[in-house]
């Protein structure tokens, strides 16, 4: 699974490198931390200033996220939802765009009886889910359960229908 992810990531990198961008008048990019941007003199906006590139994608941080997910599982098995929730929030600080983490947090909120929050967190997970239909289906199923718990039968049925659509 990890290797597939890595290969996919490399593919994206390659595609990104191929994509055409308008030739920029920007100065050469300085990579690495040797040239600190902290030392820029005040008012220095000249073209000589190095361009800040995106921080490296933290694929390596998946190890930390997986460790925290394991720990959250452990807490949930013990019925300690508060600690599970704190642990998932910790993971989200490391990887805030991870739709799976948001889904897991929604599931914990559902167990805690915080059904309205469970529903909202499932929405959040869906906005980050990209093309992951299976995750979307699970999120809608979770929304349906949260809505049943709030006596919103019509809303729950809508969510169930969306879950079914996503599964197709």
């Amino acid at each position: 699974m990890v290797t597939i992810k890595r290969a996919f990531f490399l593919l994206i990198l390659l595609l990104g490198a191929c994509s055409t961008r308008p030739p920029s008048q920007l100065p050469p990019v300085v990579e690495g931390g040797s040239q600190s941007t902290e030392s820029l003199p005040p008012g220095e906006e000249a073209a000589a200033a190095p361009v800040i590139e995106a921080s490296p994608e933290n694929r390596a941080s998946q190890g930390a996220v997986v460790a925290l997910l394991d720990r959250a599982d452990h807490y949930q098995r013990l019925g300690d939802n508060d600690s599970a929730s704190a642990t998932l929030e910790r993971a989200l600080r490391i990887d805030p765009r991870n739709a799976q983490l948001w889904h897991r947090l929604a599931a914990v909120r559902l167990q805690q009886g915080k059904v309205a929050q469970a529903e909202q967190l499932a929405f959040k997970s869906n906005t980050l889910s990209g093309g992951d239909k299976s995750l979307q289906a699970r999120n809608w199923a979770l929304v349906a359960r949260a809505r049943w718990a709030q006596d919103d039968a019509a809303g729950a049925r809508t969510a169930e229908r969306k879950a079914a659509e996503a599964r197709r």
Binding site: V29, P42, E53, E89
Partner: protein, 766 residues
């Protein structure tokens, strides 16, 4: 009876005589005994109460976020070093104890300190951290090289919640105190501590003799027990009565408690320093206050310094009188050497050691006053004041010292050069995590240490163009009517109102004819925005703002579209978090969790989200805010930041250049910056030339993360001709790719799109 009567004249006299000579004496003694006994009993009770009851009220302690270490963490070695320094880690050649670290190029080896968090105890770990560029690439157990998935450093203490003139201390058990300290203390202050029973007549006699000989008070004859009593119960008035009281109480204390119990109380009670309104008591807090390290990590010289201060904490204050304090420390070291507590080598080494103090602000609330102010406000809303100042709560906040230092530095760097011309120039800023609403940094004014007016929370200023995204969002939520390419009229406008004609002007005093909707926002055109607002209606825009949790008063007049309303940087942060988070309202949080005095979980502030903008318009407004940086008023950011980052934001400038605003975000954080003068006079800066420069410096230091939300379902990307706003094809030279909702309005083909007609044919045929 008669004989009695007869004798009466004499015997009563005799009796009286006896009564006088014997009975009053006994009675008096009895009364005296009763009084003294009662008094001693009362003293004894006081001793008992002070010792057995709740001995000390402890202020709540406030902590920054702990630094989480893991492979893949974005962090520069310089930042890591700063964090370790702030935590009082010692840089050594080979770390042997907790709180020590060594650095070899990009590799750090360190031993962390144990700490109890909300979700359990983090034990002390021996770690190897390897950096490459701006990233931690590997985290290992330094003893066996095994990879470690995750480790937490202990959090930096950033303040405490106390009342005026309150005592503050960190309670220590005797077993936690280094023997060197207690031995040195006894050698200096009370050599016969383990022999006497509370008072030491010999010590008093010796002190008396020394004092008489020198003609002044050189030596005190007080035992540690007496000193403890003095600190505990009594005022500082020098009198014989107090001395007697002190001695009596000391004797009682010794009768009731063991030497170790008394010593432990002494170590926690002794007064060592004053920190503003806070009195520093006990060696536990004293160690942190002067060295930013727990007591078990102090060197012999540092312990000797603390021991030496007991005699006169202000006279020997090492920060104010370093020379005097050093002499006293060296005297303590000599006594330790003479008493063979340390050997000659240790003595010589310690004498040559510098005092090794940390700055006066480290570990106190002076360091981050504006942020701690926000924390206190949240605490006062949820807790009783008396619990906050007495229960020893541990408050875990969201402050990220790295971001805080960068924010304050960026703000000061921008404001400093302007002070000559505008001594009144001020600024404020707030940085939040856009996924969870955690406040990472907060600057309430131009100087870090100044705990005055907190502008980030309390300065309510005209927001100008910062309000415009609410107008554009209101439009984009009607996809049948509006898309990013919808043409808006930026020609002269005269709007009839009850109080006259409203004719807004653009900042560049030009009109731009027809502009695409996204361009109206990107270039912050007032006239186009005003027309759009008038089309939508003030009520609709106000409904949008209310939904985005703007709660301050809003005037239902067209001037609202151009920002004629007052908001604080905190309000603006709350508003823009809706955009930065992809359409979710996230309550701002400064506190993660609270532990009670025993380290048991008390409360957690959960992450909460609420969808307030549907995914499609949320995507579009983010795209429009990105165009502000791509080609609009914030485009100068492109000199410093790669276009690939997809930075988004909005400048704000108010009439006559009174306020300079920038609210901007990347894929991880939102930062809002304001600059202006407290007296609301013009200061010559636009949003782009003032606040945005602070923003730019900040993100250059903290690093930027790509802002690239996933395209929601039901979207199509189309090339649009910049000149006409029509759909482009290969025949058009200057185009921009824009996302369109598939079921929504699409622009007509552009004049340059020669192939436009051909393209339609196959569809008709189908």
């Amino acid at each position: 009876m008669p004989p009695k009567k007869r004798k009466a004249p004499r015997r009563p006299g005799k009796r009286r005589k006896i009564k006088r000579s014997r009975f009053p004496w006994i009675k008096l003694s009895l009364i005296l005994l009763l009084i003294v006994g009662g008094y001693i009993g009362w003293l004894d009770f006081q001793v008992y109460r002070q010792f057995e009851g709740k001995r000390w009220s402890l202020p709540a302690r406030v902590y920054a976020r702990p630094l989480e270490l893991y492979a893949g963490l974005s962090l520069r070695p310089a930042q890591f070093t700063n964090e370790l320094r702030a935590l009082g880690y010692r840089f050594v050649s080979t770390p042997r104890r907790a709180g020590e670290v060594s650095r070899d190029g990009n590799r750090y080896q360190l031993i962390t300190r144990p700490f109890t968090f909300w979700d359990g105890r983090e034990r002390s770990q021996t770690l190897r951290v390897t950096f490459s560029g701006q990233q931690v690439t590997r985290l290992q157990d330094d003893r066996n090289g095994a990879d470690v998935a995750l480790a937490r450093l202990e959090p930096l203490e950033i303040g405490s919640v106390h009342t005026a003139r309150q005592e503050d201390r960190i309670l220590l058990q005797l077993s936690e105190v280094p023997d060197t300290l207690t031995e040195a203390l006894i050698a200096i202050e009370d050599r016969s501590f383990y022999q006497h029973s509370g008072v030491s007549p010999r010590a008093i006699a010796r002190a008396f003799w020394v004092n008489v000989r020198s003609g002044e008070v050189v030596q005190g004859g007080s035992t540690l027990t007496q000193q403890l009593v003095k600190n505990y119960f009594l005022t500082n008035v020098r009198s014989l009565w107090r001395k007697v009281n002190e001695a009596l109480t000391a004797l009682l204390l010794e009768r009731r408690y063991t030497k170790d119990e008394i010593l432990e109380a002494y170590l926690n009670e002794i007064y060592l320093a004053q920190d503003g309104q806070r009195a520093i008591h006990g060696f536990g807090l004293g160690s942190l206050f002067f060295f930013q390290r727990p007591i078990e990590e102090l060197s012999t010289a540092q312990l000797a310094l603390l021991v030496g201060m007991v005699k006169g904490p202000s006279y020997y204050d090492p920060r104010r009188h370093p020379e005097r304090a050093k002499q006293r420390r060296d005297l303590v070291l000599r006594v330790m050497y003479e008493q063979t507590l340390i050997d000659q080598a240790e003595y010589q080494k310690s004498r040559n050691e510098p005092l090794g103090l940390v700055g006066a602000v480290a570990g106190t609330s002076k360091q981050f006053p504006a942020f701690v102010d926000l924390v206190r406000r949240q605490l006062r809303r949820d807790y009783r004041e008396e619990d906050l100042v007495s229960e020893g709560l541990k408050i875990f906040t969201t402050l990220d010292p790295q971001v805080q230092w960068a924010l304050q530095k960026s703000l000061d760097e921008r404001v400093q050069p302007l002070l000559k011309e505008h001594p009144e120039m001020q600024g404020a800023g707030l940085v939040t995590h856009s996924a969870n609403g955690e406040v990472l940094a907060l600057a309430g004014g131009r100087q870090a240490g100044f705990a005055g007016f907190n502008r980030a929370l309390d300065a309510r200023r005209h927001v100008g163009s910062l309000i415009k995204p609410a107008v554009y969002l209101t439009a984009l939520e009607q996809p049948k009517r509006y898309s990013l390419a919808t043409l808006l009229d930026d020609g002269p406008l005269e709007h009839q109102q009850t109080d006259g004609v409203w004719s807004p002007n653009n900042y560049d005093h030009k009109f731009h004819d027809q502009v695409m909707l996204y361009q109206g926002l990107a270039n912050s055109y007032n006239v186009a925005t005003a027309r759009l607002g008038l089309d939508l209606g003030a009520d609709a825009v106000i409904r949008t703002l209310r939904r985005l949790s703007v709660s301050s008063p809003l005037n239902p007049y067209p001037s609202l579209f151009l920002g004629a309303t007052d908001l604080s940087p905190l309000d603006v942060t709350s508003l823009y978090l809706n955009f930065a988070s992809g359409g979710f309202h996230i309550p701002l949080r400064a506190i993660r969790s609270i532990l009670d005095g025993e380290g048991e979980p008390l409360q957690r502030y959960d992450l909460e989200v609420a969808r307030v903008i549907d995914p499609q318009p949320a995507y579009l407004i983010n795209r429009a805010l990105q165009s502000v940086v791509e080609e609009g008023t914030a485009r100068s950011l492109n000199y410093r930041f790669s276009r690939d980052l997809g930075l988004a934001g909005k400048t704000g400038t108010t009439n006559d250049l009174r306020d300079s605003w920038y609210a901007g975000y990347d894929g991880a954080q939102l930062a809002v910056v304001w600059m202006g003068r407290d007296d609301n006079q013009p200061m010559g800066l636009t949003g782009a030339s003032g606040a945005m420069q602070v923003w730019s410096r900040l993100y250059a230091q903290t690093g930027a993360v790509r802002n690239q939300p996933a395209l929601p379902d039901g979207f199509a990307l189309h090339g649009v001709d910049r000149a006409s706003g029509g759909l482009a094809d290969s025949g058009c030279a200057d185009t921009v790719q824009l996302p369109f909702i598939e079921t929504g309005a699409l622009p007509p083909p552009a004049p340059c799109a020669s192939g436009g007609a051909r393209k339609w044919v196959p569809e008709w045929l189908q």
